[in-house]
Symmetry: C2
Subunit: 332 residues, 2 copies
DNA sequence: CTGTTAGCGCGTTCAT
DNA sequence: ATGAACGCGCTAACAG
């Protein structure tokens, strides 16, 4: 790599002081039009670009934002990452990507690393951390936005999973289903907990006391996990006529279990998924599911973070996205 | 945020000079065991972490690597990103994620931004840049590893797309198919070009002169693009008995087109995809496809970059991954 | 409006 | 084995 051109080179070439170059760089006014143009010409000619690290050391702002997700290979988080990157780029920030690999210790480690790297702020996605530790780590950063988790004194962007589950329950009730089962996700998953709550409350509100035996937890939130959980639940409860699944992969596994057990979908059992991944419209029967605009969530989180950064009011906002029911053949 | 503890605080607390703390930090020897332990104790007690930016300014190393992908929301690149992040974390590096959004100008801009941020190296995935511009930008960085593209004097990790396509052709020939069509991807896509080459050469090698009329380009590399391209090709060439698709989404679209046109798969037309995405095994019939371990590609690229960084020999390596044929019902 | 003087927090000479 | 002085490239606070 060739030698970098520094602010001193520009200053010398333009016959001004380094400070004047700095002013031209940052449009702080306090500079005459003539010199401004002259300096800009030299900057352009020398193809000078200020060093972000030097600037960072001087200003304590790095123009960098940390994004922690459980797993970027999971389409759910990849979409959020895409939205966040778009919004960051638009605002002149760069994104430091971190996979927490579903591990709490790793997550703390990443938070510390980001602190060490002096990121301006952090977007933390679906944190698995206990409240106390989370609060402690959040305090170490200038600004944090949580996605799908809430915390006192911290901004957050959430999907209304409880409401989403309730909407699905109501849809199935509207189809005349009365024995509605739930295939839940991990116990430590915030969204799974919320969906369980929405499901339960919606059943109570409808006068259908929820039956704990109608709920089954998946070992893993994927096709296999859904298949096994559905088999277990369908065998234990042959009277089941509706099944709400933690996500579309789980629902796909449930479809397979139904087929094997000779339960027709949707005639015998109406099945619903969540997330509306690509797969949802391609399996047979196509899945009724909940759609949330994940890219928009990423964009919103990043914009909110930048707002927090600029206001520095310490105020915290909460934005809630409502998932949208997508009706397909599995629960028409 | 509380005030950061700096190296000076540690030095004062430990009753030594800042330099001694620095030595303790970097294990450069030249320090007695006693003071080393004492300083380490203070570091631990004060929970001191050296500032990456200050260190970066002094050393010109940031411990940061830039990763440019066309689109992180595309599972293909998300998997590579996941692998790269794992390998980076393991080696103590952080990843600066950038989406080029399939735009050459944006890609150049990102390369410049990464330079400004003084990343130690760059992994550039499926660059769309013309050779000359690419070479120019690559020179500005200390180390660059290209994925799915090659360039003189630059390390690269590639999937052998030509060979992969050839393997599929041979498989279909082995099934007795003689009129084998190709649904190609974008003209500017390196991998699509390679697959066209492999397809053509394999047919020539088998004595089946390739027929240009058997090749159809997709407007977009997704289900819709595949559907329309397949409809056009199947209508124009009713004698087609094999169809090789740019990727699994295209193949899925082709399956739909076959169904609509009353062509049975695989009896009338054997269909093959590429990438082995989750969907491939779930559509009906399940897709014969090519699998490449994308996460491994990401890991390999990052390790290669770090090697280049440490050797600084200027030597460049090339690693080629062979895709693996996965045989399913669409071309058994 | 412009230039001068000081740091930002660390590593790297050199002395000691 | 330890410490003092300097510089990385830039911005902030002051002077003129």
């Amino acid at each position: 790599m060739s030698f970098r051109v520094s602010i001193a080179d520009v200053a010398r070439e333009a016959g001004v002081s380094r400070q004047t170059v700095s002013r031209a760089l940052n449009n702080k006014g306090e500079i005459s039009d003539a010199t401004l143009r002259r300096v800009q010409e030299v900057i352009h000619r020398l193809d000078y670009r200020p060093s972000s690290i030097a600037r960072g050391l001087a200003t304590h702002h790095t123009g960098t934002i940390g994004l922690i997700v459980p797993d970027i290979a999971n389409p759910f988080f990849a979409d959020i990452g895409r939205g966040a990157d778009d919004a960051a780029h638009e605002a002149g920030y760069s994104l430091l990507l971190c996979n927490a690999v579903e591990d709490a210790a790793r997550e703390v480690d990443l938070l510390r690393t980001l602190e060490q790297r002096a990121v301006d702020g952090v977007v933390l996605c679906s944190s698995r951390l206990p409240e106390k530790i989370l609060a402690e780590q959040v305090k170490r950063h200038d600004a944090v936005v949580l996605i799908n988790r809430s915390l006192d004194g911290c901004s957050s962007v959430c999907v209304d999973d409880a409401r989403g589950a309730a909407v699905v329950v109501q849809h199935l009730l509207g189809l005349g289903r009365r024995r509605i089962g739930l295939l839940a996700g991990s116990e430590v998953s915030h969204s799974s907990g919320e969906r369980v709550r929405g499901y339960t409350e919606a059943l109570i509100a409808a006068g259908e006391g929820p039956d704990p035996a109608l709920m089954q937890r998946c070992d893993s939130p994927d096709i296999d996990g859904g298949y096994h959980a559905a088999r277990a639940l369908l065998s234990a409860r042959p009277d089941l006529d509706g099944l709400i699944c933690y996500n579309d992969l789980v629902a796909t596994g449930a479809l397979r279990a139904c087929a094997e057990l000779g339960r027709r979908v949707p005639d015998d059992v109406a099945v619903a998924g969540a997330d509306d991944i690509l797969l949802a419209s391609l399996v047979t029967p196509a899945l009724t599911t909940l759609r949330s605009n994940r890219q928009a969530i990423g964009v919103a989180a990043l914009r909110m973070l930048i707002d927090d950064l600029q206001c520095a009011s310490g105020a915290c906002n909460t934005l809630v996205f409502q998932p949208e029911l997508v009706v397909r053949a599995s629960a028409p």
